[in-house]
Amino acid sequence: MSAGPQQIREGVIRLIISSHEGDISVSDIEAHGGVLEAVNYTSLSYIRLLDAIENEFGAYLDADEGAEALGTVDGIVAAVLTELGSDAA
């Protein structure tokens, strides 16, 4: 059975935290409205995150297309759901 939107959201947040250089938490991300730049997400963190998303969900996200949308938790979750098609969405 494929993952639903809530499971994908939880998975994306887990990968965002594990891909960061430092020790951010879910509450840090929420406190900044889910904006990754605000929790100092670097380009190396992004590369790790996009790799992890491809590995875990099989969804390839191109950071150059829709770069702005991929700057937030909501944007990344939406992009993963779109990549996975209507089953997940």
């Binding site: 430092g22 100092n40 590369i47 950071a63």
Partner: protein, 473 residues
């Protein structure tokens, strides 16, 4: 003008052969030359207090970047190649130090910016006078992270830039059959020396990538361009290994070149196991250009010296010594730090790199660095520059910037701060973001009541580093 003439000869020699492709377009040698001459006409109108306008170029990779670069050379002006990610404050410091007349860039701006080339905007800077005079032989300026708290501007003669390209092409057996996929920014030494002029000289095709070099993205670009050479920082190869790239994705690639930061031995081994592609290790320093190359070396070796390069290990202790180098591609001097580069070059023309290591059967092995730069994914960060930016934030009473390993084992920029009540680390980050490129902003910050110091007042670095072991915020 050696470089303008070299590119013009390539346009004559290779004419209708494909020269360049990027995210914006593809172009052959003749068409690129014509475009660059048109750009030169426009740029010739740049107002300047002397006969060599200084034109900054701060943009992501594209065919327009190359057109602008060639246009500046053909106009008899001097290009100042700036990292596209430089913050506005960094650009202001560069302008202040180097007296730029014009800046070509691809960022959003208001004010007196005017469209210059497709995708590039020109902002007039207009210097009333030159703070520092250029050397008469200088044709290109590039920047290092510096060791003085601000970027150092390296002046290169045309002869030196051409020698770097010729020696790289000869030392790596680059040919007209090559299709080079370059994933590093063209202002960076890795791309500038291994891809730009060298590919033109031999008639190879250059394909430019910009944006985040993730494995998924570059796999697709390799398939699209049928690249024979890949040029990238180690972070990309780490990415390929993480996502388990296969041999079919790399069927066209003959060699993958890594530089800018140490490549992990296990990444090198695993990448070749996964793809069947040998990795070419390359060692170069901004002040001296590309120095070594090899694909057939052990994991820790950086290969043999390129043509025209002499490498010596001096003041040897337990086999390792201070690495001194001499090449045909040396910078002339730092424009904004008179005498500094000259003081690091001895009478025999050898430059003291700040690295430690030894030669093993003629191959260079580096074992450490004796200077204080932090290498973040191939980009060098000067802790003094970051410390100055952090200390300038109102409410920061003390700041120490240092390197610590992040949770993935990579070098990270860290800061220990003493803050006035009411200010927090997040606010400090926000305030410095406008003045520093993103990779220079500390990713790890600890706030303390007081910085531990030695009896002479120096920060006790091992105590500060231990703050990052505990996970304490």
């Amino acid at each position: 003008m050696i470089l303008a003439a070299a590119f013009a000869r390539c346009a004559d020699q290779y004419a209708d052969s494909p020269a360049l492709s990027g995210p914006d377009s593809s172009v052959d040698h003749r068409a690129l030359h014509q475009r660059s001459l048109r750009a030169a006409e426009w740029l010739s109108g740049t107002r300047s207090v002397d006969d060599r306008p200084r034109i900054g170029l701060a943009a992501r990779n594209s065919t327009t970047w190359v057109t602008a670069y060639l246009g500046i050379l053909h106009a008899g002006a001097v290009p100042f190649l700036v990292d596209a990610s430089a913050g506005d404050g960094e650009l202001d410091r560069i302008h202040e130090d180097c007296s730029l007349d014009l800046l070509l860039h691809d960022r959003d701006t208001a004010g007196d910016a005017v469209p210059a080339l497709p995708g590039l905007t020109a902002t007039h800077r207009r210097s009333a006078e030159r703070r520092h005079q250029l050397h008469p032989d200088t044709e290109v300026c590039r920047f290092t992270s510096g060791t003085t708290g601000r970027p150092n501007c390296l002046e290169f003669s045309g002869r030196s830039v051409r020698a770097a390209a010729e020696n790289w092409a000869a030392g790596t057996a680059m040919s007209a059959d090559d299709r080079i996929l370059c994933c590093a920014g063209l202002s960076n030494g890795l791309a500038f020396n291994t891809s730009l002029l060298s590919s033109f000289l031999v008639g190879a095709q250059l394909h430019l990538s910009h944006g985040l070099p993730t494995s998924g993205r570059i796999r697709r670009l390799v398939a699209e361009t049928q690249a024979t050479r890949l040029v990238a920082f180690p972070a990309l190869y780490d990415s390929f290994v993480r996502t388990g790239t296969g041999r079919a994705d790399f069927a066209s690639v003959r060699v993958a070149i890594s530089s800018g930061a140490p490549l992990r031995a296990d990444t090198k081994k695993r990448f070749t196991e996964l793809t069947g592609v040998p990795m070419g290790n390359y060692y170069g320093v901004a002040e001296a250009g590309p120095l070594t190359y090899s694909t057939a070396t052990s994991a820790r070796s950086l290969g043999r010296p390129l043509p025209g390069v002499d490498i010596q290990a001096r003041e040897v202790v337990d086999r390792d010594g201070a690495v001194h180098v001499r090449s045909a591609s040396m910078a002339t001097r730092y424009l904004n730090a008179p005498g500094l580069l000259e003081s690091r070059i001895d009478d025999g023309g050898h430059y003291s790199t700040g690295d430690r290591g030894h030669l093993e059967d003629g191959e260079l092995v580096l074992t450490g660095r004796s200077n204080r730069m932090i290498n973040v994914g191939g980009r060098k960060v000067d802790p003094a520059e970051v410390g100055n930016a952090v200390s300038a934030v109102p409410g920061v009473e003390q700041a120490v910037v240092l390197e610590v390993p992040d949770r993935h084992g990579e070098p990270a920029v860290a800061a220990v701060l003493v803050l006035r009540e009411g200010l927090d680390a997040g606010e400090v980050r926000l305030r410095i973001r406008d003045n520093l490129a993103a990779h220079k902003v500390p990713t790890l910050i600890r706030v303390v009541d007081a910085i531990p110091t030695t009896v002479i007042g120096k920060p006790v670095l091992h105590e500060l580093r231990s703050l990052f072991d505990t996970g304490t915020s």
